[in-house]
């Protein structure tokens, strides 16, 4: 057998044909986060702000205050044992509400577990969100005009499914409709993430892929997820446009998402958006302790960069918003949440027989037998 002895010694000292370090340095260079109003409430892009009346901007601020209040109540309810699974959203209000508010209620939302506020704004009644948290099937029984799937637990799975929804929209020739989906910085490491973008790109399907880069996947910092300088650049290889946006800036997120949606419905194919944000609290309320993996020094600048602060400040300076208005609004939101808790409490106990009836459309023998057995137990 002839085995070619590879002699590579001649390559020593030779000038390489390509400078890979330079190529690596250039990667990610053209991603500059879009910003409209900065952390000091200074308008960076007046032409964008000018598109909105102060009343419209107040509605945007109220969306963020709503989400913050929902978060605070959910946190408290979790501690009292009145909610089950809860992934805190504090800090991500501009990222979540800014993007979601650029979508239409006829668009299809494929959320993950931290996207409950978007789901609610998309039409999920708050009490159902609470029932989902507690672990009750009623929380996942969606009316037909709620164009969304329940929160995805398997990181990344929603991305490929969103490509499927988008292709379906295209094949149905439905005008003015997109699929939009969220994942986190950690989610961008999953194969599903790449497959979703690549499929949607290959099929030129109307999807908007949103990555909320909140700095951490539980304890693992963003820099350990990938050697890529930005997450946005991951879309480049799929041949689809992408952008980084200041995820603490509502208007920036909103405008970018709106532009992405317009691009997609015009038949150009999908877009990917990376929002730069921060998870103020723990990963979930099930025992995660951020003190184990991040420092106060790192957290503080992000807390100062709270998305509510800059819009509250800007609108207060404009004379369009006041503490009294905010207090009144917060009370109203709290009352709504209280009513939703009550409604969730009134949900009937789940039955195993009902679970069994929802495994298949036509009941096979084993299911029939088990329904009979559990009917006997449940009627006791």
């Amino acid at each position: 057998m002839y085995v070619h002895e590879r002699d590579v010694s001649f390559m020593d000292n030779e000038q390489p044909i390509v400078d890979f370090s330079a190529i690596h340095d250039a990667l990610g260079k053209n991603f500059e986060p879009v910003q409209v109003i900065d952390g000091q409430a200074k308008v960076v892009k007046p032409e964008i702000v000018a598109k909105y009346t102060n009343d419209q901007l107040v509605e945007f601020l109220k969306l963020m205050i709503w989400e913050r209040t929902l978060h605070q109540r959910s946190n408290a309810l979790t501690r009292q044992g009145r909610l089950g699974f809860y992934a805190p959203t504090e800090g991500q209000e501009a990222s979540e509400m800014g993007s979601n508010s650029a979508m239409k209620s006829t668009d299809v939302l494929m959320p993950a577990y931290r996207d409950i506020p978007q789901l609610i704004q998309h039409g999920l009644p708050v009490y159902k969100a609470f029932l989902w948290s507690r672990g009750h099937v009623l929380g996942n029984e969606y009316p037909e005009d709620l164009h969304a799937m329940p929160p995805q637990i398997i990181i990344g799975a929603q991305y490929v499914q969103a490509a499927g929804v988008a292709l379906g929209i295209k094949k149905n020739k439905t005008a003015d409709k997109v699929a939009y989906t969220y994942t986190g910085d950690g989610g961008t490491s999953q194969g599903d993430f790449y497959e979703g973008m690549n499929f949607a790109g290959a099929f030129q399907a109307p999807a908007v892929f949103i990555v909320q880069n909140n700095g951490y996947a539980i304890s693992v910092p963003r820099r350990k997820q990938t050697n890529a300088r930005t997450l946005a650049q991951k879309a480049v290889a799929a041949g689809i446009p992408s952008i980084q946006v200041d995820g603490m800036d509502f208007l920036a997120v909103h405008e970018v998402t709106k532009a992405a949606r317009d691009y997609a419905i015009a038949g150009n194919g999908p877009v990917m958006i990376e929002t730069l944000t921060y998870r103020f609290g723990p990963h979930t309320n099930a025992g995660d302790d951020p003190k184990r993996y991040r420092t106060k020094d790192e957290e503080q600048p992000w807390f100062d960069n709270d998305p509510l602060i800059r819009y509250r400040k800007y609108l207060t300076e404009q004379g369009a918003w006041s503490q009294a208005q905010e207090d009144e609004y917060v009370e109203q939101v709290k009352a709504d949440i209280k009513a939703a808790v009550k409604q969730a409490d009134d949900a009937p106990k789940q039955k195993i027989t009902e679970f069994l009836s929802n495994v298949f459309e036509e009941q096979p023998q084993n299911i029939q037998q088990q329904i009979t057995a559990y009917q006997a137990k449940e009627s006791k």
């Binding site: 089950g84 699974f85 577990y113 507690r134 672990g135 009750h136 099937v137 637990i153 398997i154 990181i155 950690g186 989610g187 490491s189 999953q190 194969g191 996947a217 539980i218 304890s219 693992v220 350990k224 997820q225 990938t226 025992g287 995660d288 184990r292 993996y293 106990k349 789940q350 039955k351 195993i352 679970f355 069994l356 929802n358 495994v359 084993n366 299911i367 088990q370 559990y374």
Partner: protein
Amino acid sequence: MSKKTYIQAITDALRLELGSDDRTLLFGEDVGKNGGVFRATDGLQAEFGEDRVFDTPLAESGIGGLSIGLALEGFRPIPEIQFLGFIFETLDSIAGQMSRERFRMGGTRHMPITIRSPYGGGTHTPEMHADSLEGYLAQIPGLRVVTPSNPYDAKGLLIASIRNNDPVFFLENLKLYRSMKADIPDEAYTVPLDKAAVVREGTDISLIAYSAQVNQSLKVAEKLAKEGISAEVIDLRTLSPLDEETILKSVEKTGRAVAIQEAQRQAGIAANVASLIAEKGALYLSAPVGRVYAPDTVYPFGLAEDDWLPAEDEIEAKTREILTY
């Protein structure tokens, strides 16, 4: 000897093996600085360094594939899959790749990989976290499937798994993590990977269980003992391969058997046990083999978990039914 919880016994085993064999590598999501979401790997990165104990990017298929590559380079990977419900993401690396390498390369390569993952109901996790998926795993040729029911076995089986040259799927019961304490030896020891344990001797009926169901079965046996019924309880410990000898010997003695699992009825471990008895021990029996299991639905929503999981009273009722058949 020291008193250790089930999860401390696991940490103990990992520490000892990382310390005694520098080819071992521990990695997964959040296992480093954070010490795992349950703290099973707490302190191990600080003790052994980031070279040996490290976080991976968030991708289970990546974790599986990485393990195979590292094994080829001579390492002994101990990957963690954060919850058993996430193995679907990496089933190809487990069922399609690592479990076949020895075979497809005619025995010239081996895959000394121990995949650890928590599972089991009763702690109200979100969906896809607590499912009992051991039935799927036990069907994979070339993969050992191990699951301890107590701190002593947790440590001994884990050390044996890590030292074994074939891939082992090591299932840790979520509910047992902190609910069980026992005196266990401080030094390293092993528990064989193909031996069930007779955890309570008896003569009237054999209760064959594993993981959390062993403890439930023991309670039932204790209760029945007060009525003069002598139930033998077997802890399978290794689900693949099954210790046929111990099961058959017990059934030969008692003539009656109940196989117990937390998983749904269809195609699970209890079905394997029942078919083994039908195949090789039918003539020992004075009654059909009973089975206790969960209903054939998807793992339930958290609030209904307690109604869905097989409970002690179901084991008791089935045991009485088979006893009086």
